[in-house]
């Protein structure tokens, strides 16, 4: 759980328009060579250079060790992540990413893998399908999209195994929604079901699979958008009790900086919700970003949540 320093500096080596408003980017090490391995379902944390951090799933075959491919759909209400990717990143662009992480691992011991994808939710599932194909594991895909033009990897899927894919195009269904209950009716309890897509689809599948063994039903929710960190300034944090001080750069929290320096303190949520990392402020002005302190407590400037809150002043002194 601790913050990791496993940043990779990669280069965009290919950009392809995969479907309407969907781009696939290929990332490689600038020197070439082998990248940290990933497993199907993994994502990268991408530091977009404009201060934003976004998570994008890898869609290529995990057996490929020399490249990462991510699919990025242009969100209609983009808060700066997907629009930055679509408008700014080109072949040759440099990009900092985390090592691959996987919150949505594929259970290849399953008898059968059943995938439900909605829109750009297809990206982690493409990597899973490729992993299944590599070991001849039976799979099925239910793939919902607004229309054929917006269906990423349509050609790949058509050539790979058309008999395994059932498409649901909103504009060809007279407005009928994907029927998760009917679609999954014939899926045996021994199969593992993986779903990635927009909230309503996820909820429909969740309801339709409620009576299945829950260790065989897997969801990858689109992660919440990160706070806009583009205006963050670096500052110095002084720890009174240990007499040390550290620089907190933009894009890293006080908690992460302390952890980097082996001075970690208890935390739980890392989202400013739980108060586990509540810390007494001795000097400096806090930029409060938590959901715990009351307005009056925030104004008193006496305590802060170091997992999310920052400094308005150049220096912040804490009782640590």
């Amino acid at each position: 759980m601790a913050a990791t320093n496993d940043r990779l500096s990669l280069k965009v080596t290919d950009v392809r328009c995969e479907a309407r408003d969907v781009m696939v980017l290929e990332l490689r090490s600038p020197e070439g060579g082998v990248l940290p391995a990933f497993t199907a379902g993994a994502h990268l944390e991408i530091y977009l250079g404009n201060g934003l951090i976004r998570h994008y799933s890898l869609c290529n075959n995990p057996a490929e060790r020399d490249r990462y491919c991510i699919g990025v759909g242009l969100a209609r209400d983009s808060r700066g992540g997907s629009s930055f990717v679509h408008q700014t990143l080109r072949v040759g662009s440099k990009l900092d990413v985390s090592a691959p992480r996987n919150n949505f691992p594929l259970e290849l011991a399953a008898e059968e893998c059943v995938f439900v994808a909605g829109g750009i939710g297809i990206t982690p599932i493409m990597a899973m399908i490729r992993a299944c194909e590599a070991v001849h594991k039976p799979w099925r895909l239910f793939y919902c999209a607004r229309n054929r033009q917006r269906t990423a990897f349509y050609e790949d899927l058509r050539t790979m195994a058309p008999e395994r894919v059932q498409f649901h195009f909103d504009d060809e269904q007279d407005g009928r929604l994907f029927d998760a209950v009917a679609s999954l009716k014939d899926v045996p309890d021994t199969a593992h079901v993986y779903t990635c897509g927009p909230g309503p689809l996820m909820k429909a599948v969740e309801a339709a699979t409620a009576s299945r063994p829950q260790d065989r039903v897997h969801f990858e929710w689109f992660t919440a958008a990160a706070v806009d960190a583009s205006a963050d300034q670096p500052f110095t944090v002084v720890l009174k009790n240990s007499g040390t001080s550290y620089e907190v750069p933009a894009g890293r929290s006080i908690l992460e900086v302390l952890e980097d320096n082996d001075a970690g303190v208890p935390y739980s949520c890392r989202e400013g919700l739980c108060a586990t990392c509540r810390t007494t402020v001795l000097a400096g002005e806090v930029d409060h970003r938590d959901s715990v302190l009351t307005a009056a407590e925030k104004a008193s400037n006496r305590e802060m949540m170091i997992c999310v809150s920052r400094a308005k002043s150049k220096v912040l002194e804490l009782e640590l």
Partner: protein
């Protein structure tokens, strides 16, 4: 999943007697342990598993300081070495069972589950046992079918007194409003807070005139795996809103609780409560123990139902709230020790 290098409470010392058949079988942090007393009085803790074919040694027979497996008759000394294999003259070196370091302290039996060379009795938590001359302590125990991390979270945040123990040891909304001061210790966390101007809880309301209010002082020492020692003092409500109460002392009590994980899905809970000799009156400490027996069943009902749900969706992303500060800190300490021992972090709770 479990910290190995820790003292785990294996029960009250009166449970392990000189009785002929008194071989006490426990599960502690995923290990089977059999406890018995040598004629000298010293307690022995051996792995409850014959090295021959895994028969339960707790179904065996005491012979002096030794324990004989009653399947094929292999006999083991108190240090775990095999001293006899009937019908065979040579005893293989590997024919021994693991012996665990054991200490009796504060009327509890403590067993060290890790590297015996690191078994420092000074690491056993502070407690006040029933044989302490200054306190009238009553004891009890309970089995709860939940993961011990849920017990940690339960004990590290007493705001649940308001809801879970509405009819016993809580009920006031002042508990979630208390702002406990949590201080980290090398193997746990100390917590301190006052709850002021509260009516008596349901379990004791009959003892006091209607309208009586109290100031309650909570001073808690919590250590891994899940030992929870509370010095709990009751005063009639005074006027002070900070610092010590200026009300009258009603009762000064200690409740000492050790939650020992058996496996991932159950714990053995050994606990006590009682008043100081100076504030005890006939029947008070007995009532406190009886009250805990009821209140901990209330906790168990909540935790067992919670455990079932956590097992159904172990990876569900749950939300945190401000009351999680205590549990967050204590579980962080536990996870830190687990990490230092090189075990993967568990995701439950």
């Amino acid at each position: 999943m479990f910290v190995r290098n820790a003292w785990y409470c294996a029960g009250w010392n009166y449970e392990v007697t000189q009785g002929r058949d008194n071989l006490v079988a426990r599960e502690i942090a995923g290990e089977r342990v059999v406890l018995y007393r040598k004629p000298s009085g010293e307690i022995v803790a051996l792995e409850d598993r014959c090295p021959h074919r895994q028969a339960a040694l707790s179904r065996g027979r005491k012979e002096g300081d030794s324990l004989r497996c009653m399947y094929h008759g292999m006999k083991f000394a108190a240090d775990g070495a095999c001293t006899e294999i009937p019908g065979q003259s040579v005893i293989p070196e590997r024919a021994c069972v693991r012996a665990f370091p054991v200490v009796e302290k504060d009327d509890w039996i403590w067993v060290w589950m890790g590297d015996a060379a690191k078994a420092d009795p000074k690491l056993i938590c502070f407690a006040v046992g029933p044989s302490h001359p200054d306190w009238v302590i009553r004891t009890s125990k309970m089995r709860v079918n939940c993961n011990y991390r849920l017990e940690i979270a339960n004990l590290a945040d007493l705001s649940h007194l308001a809801w879970v123990h509405e009819n016993t040891v809580g009920g006031s909304r002042k508990y979630p409003e208390a702002k406990p001061q949590h201080t980290l210790t090398p193997r746990g966390m100390n917590s301190f807070f006052w709850v002021r101007q509260v009516p008596p809880t349901a379990a004791v309301a009959h003892l006091f005139a209607e309208g009586t209010l109290f100031d309650l002082r909570f001073e808690i020492q919590m250590t891994v795996p899940c030992n929870w020692i509370m010095h709990f003092t009751i005063y009639t409500a005074g006027t002070a809103t900070e610092g010590d109460s200026n009300g009258q002392l009603v009762a000064d009590t200690y409740t000492c609780q050790a939650v020992t994980p058996r496996d991932a899905d159950s714990v053995d809970y050994y606990y006590s409560w009682g008043a100081s000799r100076a504030t005890e009156f006939p029947g008070l400490s007995d009532m406190l123990r009886d009250t805990l027996n009821i209140a901990f069943r209330e906790d168990a009902d909540v935790l067992e139902a919670q455990h079932i749900r956590v097992k159904e969706r172990p990876h569900l992303k749950t939300i945190d709230i401000a009351l999680d500060a205590g549990p967050g800190k204590m579980l962080w300490v536990l996870d830190k020790l687990l990490k230092e021992e090189g075990e993967p972090r568990t995701v439950a709770a």
